[in-house]
């Protein structure tokens, strides 16, 4: 008798799995042996695949769980913290904001367009699964050196992929950041953040409920793409990475759009009990997590899954990461109503199983049980590692004298403005639709944070509330001091929000690191989490969602650590929103600095990176109390209508940040230097460099029409303040009597760098 291909597969995958196969799938020897012991039998091939996906770093957070638990996750504003598809906060008026950031690093290196596109698609599904309409997208990108032969190809592909998905589905991409460094040459980072708006009492969760309720599969068909993607993303790269192309998923933003509309339409009815998107580890993690959270069991008939091709094995179906799919538990009796909606949107709809009380996952194929596993073994009993870690911090404080080089201020400034990590990112952002939906107020090119109107909050003459979003991480700080550097990343995110007129509310984070089995990398991770904890507790901005991406290493070399902070804040009146562009005939003031300051912190600065191509030394110190006072002051003078532009002093220091404020309107300014510089001796040149380019924290540049009033209020509130000068329309920038240059030249250098690379 001839055995059909299907029977062959079925026979093969119900055989006991061998240790070699298990290791190939990503499990360790210890993990596999523990599974056999707890299961009291050897799992078959399909079951082992499910274990390996659930035990992957991506799904189980096995290296970081212990530390992530220490983060602050609650607060008055929190409706849902970590553990769901996304975090949810209360923003008043019965509105809730749903947001999360997620990485798609490994796939984007292998196949930049699809990797980035599905990164966007995946994070959007996380948002609308919760019942929210996505309203904004942000992204944080890290690439290798500008002259690395892959960088141009990867940047082009990633930008096209992000735009390809976001533009098509019609959600504005309104900001983010892009950074280049050699440590990312063979391991780029693509982190996408999405924000959605929901009604507070209409949030959907993933925990299954009700024994006997139907399990529904909706969306696109399941194909052989992305199989075992979560495991791939949890391993290091080597030189044969390109062979992993089949593990990358393929995105279809059009189907994504249909799924979004169909799900939101069904959510208007009263049919859905719980819902979860099929993201990493596809049907495996979604079904296991839903049932496990509901403390129930799940039974699925794999022959009911809509397939894109014939002859898919149970293993392939369970581990496929085909995009644009959702799993739902419906109320019994509402199947027809739901089916009609999905039919209208031309999407597959299939009843694939039911909720049981067994606390097990059972899978049927060709009427044969091919998997029968207790859920607790897959979830609660998943390994949790207490990895060794070594906390480090660079205590070697470099003076500006050690860092500065004897060149004119103008020369250094031009180098900074024309550096790929400072220059205009217009080549990137013009490829993203930032104005679709009509609610975009400011993108991150016009303000330190990106701002959208919270749709529907306008009333009569009140123009509405705004939502501000910022993403930040200065990796060179984190590398030299994981705890303080990450604490600073949170502070900078908060400061950026404040500079747009917003009050910080909550955080999502994406922890991108190397191999956690190395104690120094684990030390970076632990330090970073401690840093987030410190700042988030201080600012009352709890962490409500996040993602961990480890093993960002190639041939044993780790990336620069990148614990990305995504923070959201509220602007109570959008007419009070602040952009970063100065107007003509305004006073520019620095808050957080006085006339006695005649030097600055150049250790581990952008200056050091640009001039010396390295970043080391003690990072700038930070006083949280002082920072908070500064932020409160800025918000208070903004509410009095005293400022019309604000920009925080960060990468590059005072002078480059001042130039950024003048670029759009091509303004000039006569910078008033502290008296000390009136007769500057040659050997003291480094002090001027420190003053111009130092990265001392807790400083904000503002543009105001009422200098006297602001100075008066600052003195009252014990805020240091320094008048930098008056803007004018001459386009000439005078640095006291020491240097002069034109804003046009600055603009030219700033604007042309990236297009030149991308030609």
């Amino acid at each position: 008798m001839r055995v059909s291909r299907e029977q062959e597969i079925a026979l093969e995958e119900t055989k006991n799995c061998t240790l070699e196969k298990a290791i190939e799938m990503g499990l360790s020897k210890d993990e596999f042996e523990l599974i056999c012991k707890k299961l009291k039998r050897t799992p078959n091939f399909v079951e082992t695949g499910i274990f390996s996906a659930m035990y992957s770093e991506h799904c189980s957070y096995k290296s970081t769980k212990k530390w992530l638990k220490t983060l602050p996750t609650s607060g008055k504003q929190v409706i849902q913290g970590p553990g769901e598809n996304a975090g949810v906060i209360d923003v008043g008026d019965d509105n809730a904001i749903v947001f999360k950031i997620e990485s798609h690093n490994h796939p984007s290196f292998i196949e930049p367009y699809q990797g980035a596109a599905t990164g966007v698609g995946g994070i959007l599904r996380d948002i609308f699964t919760m019942g929210a309409r996505p309203i904004a997208l942000m992204n944080v990108l890290r690439f290798g050196e500008e002259n690395n032969f892959l960088t141009k190809h990867l940047l082009n592909g990633v930008v096209k992929g992000i735009g390809g998905y976001g533009n098509c589905i019609g959600i504005p991409t309104i900001g983010g950041e892009t950074y280049f460094h050699k440590s990312y040459n063979k391991n780029i980072l693509v982190n996408a953040m999405a924000v959605g708006l929901a009604k507070k009492n209409k949030i959907f969760y993933s925990a299954a409920s009700g024994v006997g309720n139907p399990v529904i599969y909706v969306g696109a068909k399941t194909g052989k793409d992305g199989i075992h993607g979560a495991t791939m993303a949890s391993a290091e790269f080597s030189d044969d990475t390109q062979e992993k192309k089949p593990t990358v998923q393929v995105g279809d933003p059009f189907t994504g759009k249909l799924l979004l509309e169909a799900c939101l339409e069904l959510m208007e009815t009263d049919s859905i009990l719980s819902i979860q998107d099929m993201g990493a580890a596809g049907l495996t993690s979604s079904s296991v997590e839903m049932a496990s959270k509901g403390k129930l069991g799940i039974h699925i008939d794999l022959d009911k899954i809509p397939l894109r091709e014939n002859n898919m094995s149970g293993y392939e179906i369970m581990l496929s990461e085909s995009q644009e799919r959702m799993l739902m538990i419906l109320k019994q009796g509402s199947e027809k109503k739901a089916e009609r909606i999905f039919e209208k949107w031309d999407l597959d709809f299939s009843i694939i199983g039911k909720i049981t009380d067994t606390e097990k996952i059972t899978l049927l194929k060709n009427n044969k049980v091919i998997c029968n596993l207790p859920l607790n073994l897959l979830v609660e009993d998943a390994p949790e590692y207490h990895r060794d870690y070594k906390l480090t911090s660079n205590k070697n404080q470099l003076s500006s004298k050690e860092v500065a080089i004897d060149k004119s201020i103008k020369d250094i400034l031009y180098k900074i403005l024309g550096h790929v990590n400072f220059c205009s990112k217009k080549w990137i952002y013009e490829q993203y639709d930032s104005s679709v939906m009509g609610d975009t107020i400011l993108t991150s090119n016009d303000s330190d944070a990106s701002v959208v109107k919270i749709h529907g909050t306008e009333k009569n003459h009140f123009k509405g509330k705004g939502l501000a979003i910022s993403t930040d991480c200065t990796s060179r700080y984190v590398k030299n001091n994981p705890e303080e550097g990450t604490s600073l990343a949170v502070v900078e995110a908060a400061r950026n929000l404040v500079c747009s007129g917003a009050t910080p509310m909550a955080v999502t984070n994406n922890l991108n690191f190397g191999n956690p089995e190395k104690s120094e990398i684990m030390g970076q991770i632990v330090g970073s989490i401690l840093g987030i904890k410190k700042s988030c507790e201080f600012f009352n901005t709890p962490v409500v969602s996040g993602n961990v991406s480890l093993y960002n290493e190639t041939n044993g070399k780790s990336i620069m650590p990148a614990p990305i902070i995504g923070m959201v804040g509220i602007i109570n009146d959008i007419e009070k929103v602040i952009n970063l562009h100065a107007k003509s005939k305004r006073s520019i003031l620095v808050l957080g600095q006085n006339e006695n300051k005649i030097d600055g912190w150049l250790g581990c600065s952008f200056y050091q990176e640009v001039i010396h191509d390295k970043c080391d030394g003690k990072i700038p110190s930070l006083n949280l109390e002082k920072e908070k006072k500064l932020m409160d002051f800025l918000l208070s003078i903004n509410s009095l209508g005293l400022i019309d532009g604000a920009h925080d002093v960060s990468d590059g220091g005072l002078l480059p940040c001042l130039i950024e404020m003048l670029l759009k309107k091509k303004l000039g300014i006569n910078v008033i230097l502290p008296k000390f510089f009136d007769d500057l001796k040659n050997e003291d040149f480094y002090k001027l460099h420190g003053w111009c380019f130092g990265e001392d924290q807790s400083r904000i540049l503002i543009s105001t029409e009422d200098k006297q009033k602001v100075i008066e209020l600052a003195k009252e509130n014990e805020i240091e303040i320094f008048h930098l000068g008056q803007t004018n329309s001459s386009g000439e920038i005078l640095l006291g009597k020491l240097d002069r240059f034109s804003i046009k030249k600055c603009y030219h250098i700033y604007a042309n760098k990236l297009p030149k690379i991308m030609i």
Partner: protein
């Protein structure tokens, strides 16, 4: 005023244009699903922007075969007004309600930015009612395939017949369009297709409010 907005699978500016029309006219437009076969008696039908059917095959090509298109043609032949924005313009070209073609942007990139348009002297049209020839209006653009192309003969005809509604500034043509053409009218002046998005230039927080001028003139004419 009776207006309707067609929604195709993949339309994504339908909501924006509905809000813009409602904000300005106080009338809520009717939503017309693409599978409908009859368009009721309306003054204006808007074909909104987006990626109808994912822009697969060719931008607008699949939407042009949707059931509603026949009744859109009927509406047009009755003298009804039709406005196609961005993907809507592409669809109107695919349905042959407007002449010429739209190809991929010259630099092969999607481009999103604010752009300055010069209003042209046109034949009588509800769409240029509120605007003065030579005036500049600022609207955002956001498209990958907005490069208007036609042969010399058609360009000449469009000029002579006053069928060009908007042009990009000669020094800021974002997509390589022939003769800087950004918006085209039908022979009777009642159908306009344009790549820029007037519905994104309404609110005070938008970078321009010229969309108000555009829609106000249009609505005034239709209510006239």
């Amino acid at each position: 005023m009776r207006a309707g907005v067609i929604v195709f699978p993949g339309s994504n500016c339908d909501r924006d244009v509905i809000i813009a029309l409602k904000t300005i006219s106080n009338f809520k437009p009717k939503i017309l699903w693409h599978k409908e076969t009859e368009i009721p008696n309306l003054d204006l039908v808007v074909v909104p922007g987006g990626f109808s059917f994912g822009d697969y095959l060719r931008c607008g090509a699949i939407a042009a075969k949707s059931p509603i298109i026949n009744s859109l043609k009927d509406h047009a032949s009755r003298g009804g007004s039709v406005l196609g924005i961005c993907n809507g313009f592409q669809i109107l070209i695919e349905t042959k309600l407007l002449p010429g073609t739209l190809i991929t942007n010259k630099n092969l990139n999607f481009v999103c930015k604010d752009i300055s348009l010069i209003t042209q002297k046109t034949r009588p049209s509800p769409f240029t009612n509120g605007l003065t020839p030579g005036d500049k209006v600022n609207f955002p653009i956001a498209h990958n395939d907005g490069n208007y192309f036609c042969d010399d003969e058609l360009t000449k005809k469009l000029h002579n017949e006053g069928q060009i509604a908007f042009k990009y500034s000669p020094n800021d043509n974002p997509n390589g369009s022939v003769d800087n053409i950004a918006g085209v009218l039908s022979e009777n002046g009642r159908i306009l297709g344009m790549m820029p998005h007037p519905e994104r230039a309404i609110e005070n927080f938008h970078s321009s409010q010229d969309g108000k001028l555009f829609f106000n003139g249009l609505i005034k004419h239709l209510l006239g």
